[in-house]
Symmetry: C3
Subunit: 151 residues, 3 copies
């Protein structure tokens, strides 16, 4: 079980690195989190390999879109060189140009695989529990600073 | 201390399972997280055994109510077959039918007990730091998808 | 690596204690989380020792200000008696008297040092990814309970 704890900690840090690189638009480090044949399924949107998943994110997570992806509640089980993980996502998206705001939650079901370079994501995907969106036209006083860019 | 880490990880996963089953309305698995004589105290609302706590949740967490319960910042201390845990809750509730929105935070103080089947919740409860509620009438553009049901 | 897990868990609990004491305004326990020569850098606001950092927080985190500081996604690396940590902050501030609401996120870059009394913060600081603020005048139905005080 002690070795499992080492693997569990490594898999948590893998997930955090994946989401940090997503929200910071660091696409090479983002891609490094996956094995090449990784698949994705985000509430109906499917990807059959890493390259198409990364390309989609790179294209859609534009500079004018602010994102916050927080993965909570890791329930990770390791079995040899494979592992599964359930996580509880809380995410927010803001697109000031389009006065668009979104917030939601979801449960991730991931699988991971041990490689010579460390644990990698083999399959990731989530099913939402809720999603809500609204326009900042309803909040005339709202001011949003996109500080990743202005920093 | 190494054995303590195994227990701490098991108790974290117990807490995550408890909240996952709460938000997904999986009441049998939810009940399994507690010992039968477990008690609860949620900011004044008291429960003196597991059955009454589960019955209350089952009755009040209706399909039309969307909930998100995230427990952060585990500070867990294990002492033999008992353990204590402090957590920092962030929760949201949405009831579209009543145009009702709520968000809050709280500090949990839990105790856990080791049983032949694994760690279980012996006592749970929290004290809020803040709670705010508002009506979606103030946000005419708001659209909420209750995707646990629609999925 | 097993000893590293003990250190990583201790550093996580240090961070959680630091933020719990911040949000609960427990300044002596808050100060205890730092070494005396600790430095801070919160998106441009710099502190060169523990006393000035604590004094600033004590002065600015008034009773009428409600705060929620949640640190997620710990990526902690231990090297002997020093350690580094990356975290993903989600914070909210509410000042009902001034109808002021704020929400943001940031990446922390911390360093920690092992002392005879346990791990302590040596340097903390973050860079925001976004920050948004608005007035509760835009939400006439909003009711906020400052339950840390009313409890």
């Amino acid at each position: 079980m002690h070795n499992q704890l080492v693997d569990i900690e490594a898999i948590k840090q893998l997930k955090y690195r994946y989401l940090r690189n997503l929200d910071l638009r660091q696409w090479e480090d983002f891609a490094e989190c996956f094995v090449p044949d990784a698949t994705g399924a985000y509430d109906g949107r499917e990807f059959t390999d890493r390259d198409s998943l990364v390309a989609f994110m790179r294209e859609n997570m534009t500079d004018g879109l602010i994102s916050m992806h927080h993965a909570h509640h890791p329930e990770i089980e390791v079995s040899g060189d494979e592992a599964t993980g359930t996580w509880y996502l809380h995410d927010k998206v803001m697109v000031p140009e389009f006065e668009y705001l979104l917030e939601g939650a979801a449960f991730y079901s991931d699988t991971y695989v041990r490689t010579p370079a460390g644990w990698r994501i083999k399959r990731t995907g989530y099913r939402r529990t809720f999603e809500m969106s609204w326009s900042s036209k309803d909040l005339p006083s709202l001011r949003i600073k996109n500080q990743r860019l202005e920093g």
